[in-house]
Amino acid sequence: MGMKIIFGIEALEGAKSGIREAIDYARSLKDCRYADLRVGLVETRTASSENGNPKIAREDVHSSFGVRVIAGSPQTEAWGYYAQPLGKAELGGRALWKTLRQGIDRAYQRAMVSSHRKQALRELAPALSPVRLAPVEISKDMVPARFEEDPRRIPIKEVLSEAINITRQAKSVSPEMRFAFLMMATGLTRELFFSTEGAELDQAYALTNATLLVVAQKGSAIPESFIDHIGSHGGWEAVRGKNVYNKSFLDFALERARDTAELAGAEFLPSTEKPVTVVTEPHFNTLLVHEIIGHPTEADRALKMETAYAGRSWLLRRLDDNEFGRQVASPLITAFSDPTLEGYGNYKYDAEGVPGRRVMLIEKGILRGFMNSRETAAILAQEPNGSMRATACHYVPLVRMTNTVIAPGDRNPQDILSEVEEGYYIVNHRIPSISESRENFRMSAQKVYKIENGRLTRLYRGGGITSDSREFLMSIDAVGNDLVVLPIPNCGKGQPMQVMRVGNGGPTLRGKARLTGEYTR
């Protein structure tokens, strides 16, 4: 304890005057309609261990900035961006001002060139339009990080010894355990957002998390592996159980390791050609909601901006031909995205300085809204709802899920199960494969149990479900009251790909889907 903080998030305090100057400079540029600057700093301690041996111990401090500029002639205004890291020497006074000014110049230059090219190509491409941002209320605010045990006060040796202890114990749960790996980190992030419209935001958050990989093998059978993640927007206290699972990282890892060892001796799930009754539990539904409700309700995806990468959305074919106001799910399904909830998608202002708020996506089965940005809100003639985020300041913000969930119903999950004469209980998400417009999915589960006369009987591995998304959502006939918002640490989107943390959740659901499993072997 009592370490000297050499280059930490306090360093950003002195950066504010340089950022204001840079914003003033952007305002002075000819035909520059808008600019914003994000400057961030992350301090983390990261450690990893496998099978009780140390592998990584790192203390990192990263700072970077990103500039967005809209400039050009009024009919062809275009985006220009620039980003780079900031070193210790660049974070204060004139050095920062100089670096930011150079960044603004580069972004401005790109926007101006692009605006000219847009003009030249308009005959061939009549839909080329100037960038428009939906208006928002301008905010000035400071949001402090919340934690009990300051991540900066945790020595790297302590982080490492925690990781070592966890993998040593996880490896020992059974003779079948072949591999236990854990990567854990604790840290603080602070981000400043200033814009030519006058926004001045200073937000910070703590993050403590771990990703676990366990592999077990029984004899010469196919090894069984499982990856899972635990964490929260908190300090070191998360390791001891102050997280959404209410479990210490150790207990979480041991539970996953025991499950994996048990599964190594289980049968592979047989697949079915026809849909069967499935009850999906909250951990599985976390990923299900992410893939078939969250992603297709991101406005940039719906507006085809992700066509080359993560795909489109079956919910919007054209601006005048879409599913708004139509039934896309069972009337029992209500889904929303809410950054004010606790979870990995929690924040007060997004990366455009827009206050985050609850967005109703599906209400009693009817499509109601999309998560959006200021630009996509302008195109859709909707109000911005504060859903733009970037993994770090040197990335361009994208429309992102926040805490995107299916709302809880009123059924006891146990009752939902006990009413099933014959069916399958789908437990813990594993890997998703989703079709291009999110209209179909195949998703694997860690465990699948046969349900017979309301009771769980046989355990299977290597199984999952597949269905067209609408068909599955429409088939839901029971929704549990057991919603939890779980962390999804690795949502990939954009080019270059950004890996983002989001919160997702869904209570216990009962519906119909085909089982996937052994027919592929």
Partner: protein, 485 residues
């Protein structure tokens, strides 16, 4: 940034922290990724070149092995955006503070042969202006739109994708004798187009390590023509089919399922379908797979790895037999024995934006080459197929039940056709077919491997796959999205 500055930084930095009984390696990198991301939609207001952007990264990493009383402790420290000796000192302090005993660690890398690929970058790419870079993006868009115009298509057009420019400079010096540097330049254009009301999607690629001859307009045009070719697609009943996979699906399967299984990283985790199969047959005898980071003109090529060792060819599968795994120095030493050695040609510090100082070297492919022992012409590849499917682009390919199980799934999203009597016939409607199969079975059921190859990079991967078309029998295809596609 000048290479000379990086070299001076590692030289002076190493001198400033050298001490007895300690192996030290200093790694310095600077890179810039310039991305011109396209978004044109004919029926929705759009920007055309939506994101002209770039990001730079530079910094120092120090790896140290501290020996004390016969035990060696390993430490790693890095310093962001600092390319001066004082940054090396700070990174060294972090390495020392966090050092630990790792029983698998043997030593830091030592020199191992000479690189064969030297001076292969293009100075014109290092010096490219913002205006030239932005122009490359607009050229890709124009190439696609001109092709649509020539075909009389004005509505329901989507053009997406990107043109990327990656510039990388690294310098490495160590007390174990490594003293090297590398400069690489990469250009890629990956363009996707759609005529949405027809439900068709097409793709076009261009890759190069030199600016001269790089033609993003051609990639745009190829993408548009590819979409146009598949207008009028039909659905397919579920079943097992004889399939000819195009270069992109082979690339996607390689990047997401096969290459990770051929790495010592997954051997280390007991999480590969090829565990314990070294020397055994794992694919059709007509298949060879190797990785070669020293191939001239290929975008996955480097002079040296991020451990300062020469790149080169690593044979992985020869005539169907598993003969090797991709290795870095750390895992190569851990797993080498008197019956198997693993040459560390694949230790890279990739993080999605080029080589980075932030992390230690993991195991990454460079240029993965897939070839046949006997290779077929396109005509020979299709000959004898009475009813089959040509699959030209797949998406979201994942080892759905974990890597070791080999099960994978994927959806067919464009560039695909039905095959009738040995000929390409009706287009296959995009987004209505899901592949559900097992990679072991697909590799065993290869019927023929094409001669023509294409270098392709998949989204977010660092490596290139130089992939032929491959014919496989009995591939399980399911019909999906009856209500929405």
């Amino acid at each position: 940034m000048r290479l000379e500055d990086l070299r001076e930084c590692v030289q002076k930095g190493l001198d400033s922290v050298k001490q007895e009984k300690t192996e030290i390696e200093v790694f310095a990198s600077w890179n810039e990724l310039v991305t011109m991301r396209l978004n044109y939609t004919s029926d929705i207001p759009s920007g055309g070149l939506h994101e002209p952007k770039s990001s730079q990264f530079s910094g120092i990493a120090v790896s140290s092995a501290f020996s004390n009383k016969g035990k060696t402790s390993l430490g790693f420290g890095s310093q962001a955006n600092e390319l001066r000796p004082r940054g090396v000192k700070e990174a060294f302090r972090k390495a020392k503070r966090g050092r630990f005993y790792d029983p698998d660690f043997r030593s830091l890398p030592s020199p191992m042969g000479s690189p064969t690929l030297v001076d292969y970058h293009d100075p014109a790419i290092l010096d490219i202006s913002d205006e030239e870079a932005v122009d490359l993006g607009w050229k890709a868009l124009e190439g696609a739109l001109r092709a649509f115009q020539e075909a009389g298509i004005k509505e329901s057009i989507i053009v997406g994708g990107d043109v990327c420019i990656l510039k990388e400079l690294v310098a490495i010096k160590s007390t174990t004798g490594i003293d090297t540097f590398d400069v690489s330049t990469i250009l890629t254009a990956a363009i996707t187009t759609m005529v949405e009301k027809e439900g068709v999607k097409g793709t076009g690629w261009a890759t190069s390590t030199k600016l001269a001859g790089f033609d993003p307009a051609l990639a745009g045009r190829e993408a548009a023509l590819s979409a146009i070719r598949t207008i009028g697609g039909k659905r397919l009943p579920p079943g097992r089919y004889e399939v000819v996979f195009g270069s992109q699906p082979i690339t996607d399967m390689m990047a997401n399922v096969i290459a990770p299984s051929l790495s010592l990283a997954t051997v280390n985790a007991s999480n590969t379908p090829f565990l314990g199969k070294l020397g055994q047959r794992i694919t059709s005898p007509n298949l060879n797979i190797y990785d070669d980071g020293s191939l001239p003109g290929q975008i996955g090529s480097k002079k040296v790895t991020c451990e300062g060792l020469p790149t080169g060819r690593t044979d992985l599968v020869q005539e169907g037999n598993l003969v090797g795994f991709l290795a870095n120095h750390y895992l190569g030493r851990k797993f080498s024995s008197n019956v198997a050695t693993f040459v560390p040609r694949n230790g890279f510090r990739f993080h999605g934006l080029g080589r980075t100082y932030e992390i230690q070297a993991g195991v990454f492919p460079t240029n993965l080459v897939v070839e046949g022992r006997q290779e077929a012409t396109t005509e020979e590849l299709f000959r004898g197929i009475r009813e089959g499917v040509y699959i030209g682009r797949i998406w979201y390919t994942y080892p759905i039940n974990g890597l070791a199980a080999g099960d994978f799934t994927s959806t067919v999203i464009g560039d695909s056709f039905l095959i009738k009597d040995g000929q390409i016939s009706t287009p296959l409607k995009p987004n209505v077919v899901r592949i559900n199969d097992n990679i072991n079975r697909v590799l065993q059921n290869i019927v023929a491997v094409g001669r023509e190859k294409k270098a392709i990079q998949v989204w977010s991967a660092e490596e290139a796959v130089i992939a032929p078309e491959i014919r496989v029998e009995g591939v399980r295809l399911d019909s999906i999205a009856a209500g929405t596609a």
